[in-house]
């Protein structure tokens, strides 16, 4: 499903001036399957964009349309369905549960969607170098390791879009590439696209569209 922006402007950013090709206060479409890189300096609204798209924030002018339905018209069950089946997310602050193990963190999501088997979860953890952390409390992991857990958790559902808010900020290039490879594989399976925000220009992986905001 496509995501359409129509004169969208978050309330906190309404006093700032925006360039002509900015996403804010203009109209643009993200087509399903596209890989979109959002690049901007701090404070220009990268996380705000992710939060608007995920329905965490609703303080904006204009309209965001998902498929044929405006996000502003979503009711409770629409949001539940949207978050379970259509849009997956990796928050900047990861939002993991530090007091349960790595595997339990993944199962919290996977039990809801029944998307992967336990073996598939373990295989993905192995691919991202976390096999030995399976039963370690998430709070005891490094930030880089936690980012990888959050990425695998985001993959534990069907989706048409994956939102990633500075997902590799604590990862080295090798681990970021491994993560990107896994993300792209899953996107391909679902014919899905992703939207990644980044502080600086990423050169380690390719994308279809670059948007400065």
């Amino acid at each position: 499903m496509n995501i359409q922006f129509n004169q969208v402007l978050p309330v906190p950013l309404s006093s700032m001036s925006h360039v002509r090709d900015s996403l804010w206060n203009t109209s643009s479409v993200f087509n399903q399957g596209q890989k979109i890189m959002i690049e901007a300096q701090s404070g220009r609204g990268k996380s705000t964009l992710i939060h608007l798209l995920f329905g965490v924030r609703k303080d904006y002018h204009g309209e965001i349309t998902f498929g044929r339905k405006k996000l502003s018209e979503f009711n409770e069950s629409d949001w539940v369905d949207y978050r379970q089946h259509h849009v997956s997310i990796v928050f900047q602050d990861l939002q993991l549960f530090p007091f349960i193990t790595v595997l339990e963190n993944l199962k919290v999501k996977n039990n809801l969607t029944k998307h992967f088997t336990d073996d598939q979860l373990i295989e993905m953890l192995g691919r991202l170098g976390l096999l030995d952390k399976l039963h370690v409390l998430c709070g005891q992991l490094s930030m880089g390791q936690q980012q990888r857990v959050a990425i695998i958790r985001a993959l534990c559902q069907p989706f048409t879009w994956m939102l990633l808010d500075e997902p590799f900020s604590h990862l080295d290039e090798i681990n970021a590439s491994k993560c990107m490879e896994l993300i792209n594989e899953e996107c391909e399976k679902h014919s899905a696209g992703w939207i990644i925000t980044s502080l600086g220009l990423q050169t380690t992986f390719s994308y279809d569209k670059l948007i400065h905001i």
Partner: protein, 391 residues
Amino acid sequence: MLQKIVLRNQSKTQLVIALLGAFLGVLFLLVSVQYFFKVNQFGKGSEMLGPNTLIIQKKVSSSTTLQLASTSFTQHEISVIENKTFIQEIQPILSNNFGVEFATSDPMLPYFRSDVFIQSVDSRFLDIKSSQWRWKEGDEIVPIILPRDFLVMLNTFMSSSGIPQISDELAKDVKFSLLLSNEKTKKQFRAKIIGFTNEVSSILVPESFMCFGKVSFGSKVTEKITQLMLSSKEKEFGLVEKFLDEQHYESKNAQLVTGRLKSVVSMLLLVIVFISLLTLIFSSFVLIQYIQLLISRNVYEIRTLLRLGYAPRKLYFVFLLYFVLLYGGICFLASLVFIILKSRIDEKLHNSGIYIALDYSKMTWATLGISFVLFYVTALVSTKRSVMNEF
């Protein structure tokens, strides 16, 4: 897994205090409601005369004994009483002017006989259906109401004969006979006890039976009316008492005393029910506050789960189920303690000679059910609102 995540950060002390409060609230309410309704039922069924019924007579003094003043009621005196606003019904009591013999006629019991007095009373003064209090010429069985003292006397006779005593219920199944007689003739009838009274000292029979006795066996001397049965209007016992005092009439006061005592005790119990209700409301309020506290302490977890795609309904049901089970456990525990406590209280009352019905009042269990439903609804509204705030 969900419980592990959202039911963290509990304050055990606060939870225990809230649960203890709820337990005591439920327990107090069960006990007070049980005894409130049982005290109100106290005496019901054991006394055949209606609750507002009195038997009055003129005071017997030295002058009446010396026949300077009459102890009988004139027609005028009866109509004066009848016209009082607080009097509902009035009827002269007829007594036998022929011989009456009461005897056992049951092969299971030893033979016992005694000369007795009988009096008649209309069914409207009795706490029974009028169809039970009926006799017509030709009927073999006469319904009777036995003075409770008479049963005590009968039981004394039974024990001295080495036979087990008989209860009220058993006495109703035993065969008795009434023998009416004069110098010339006699006739025997089967008698069936249909109830007991503490208010009258003679055996009560239906008016039709008394009339039959008077016509068939009575002397021709005109009878004097020495006793009247009257019923007062509800809650106007005070006026009746005052009137009786002014007119120098007297009555057996047991009904008045029981009535007054019941009013005082039930008023006290009503206060206790009210206090218990307040205790339960406040303790449930503390428990609901605790639920909100727990939700606010786990707000990050709830918010994250909602963002992972969990439906709010699924999350608030985790809280609801947990606290409803806890409250259900509290109700169950309080019911167990109540059952034990009730048996102890009943035993104490029984030992003190107070016979309150031992069965459980339906209202007690209804109160328990209502308190559970109210807690469920309040907890549902509270958890739903708190979780939805994070959505």
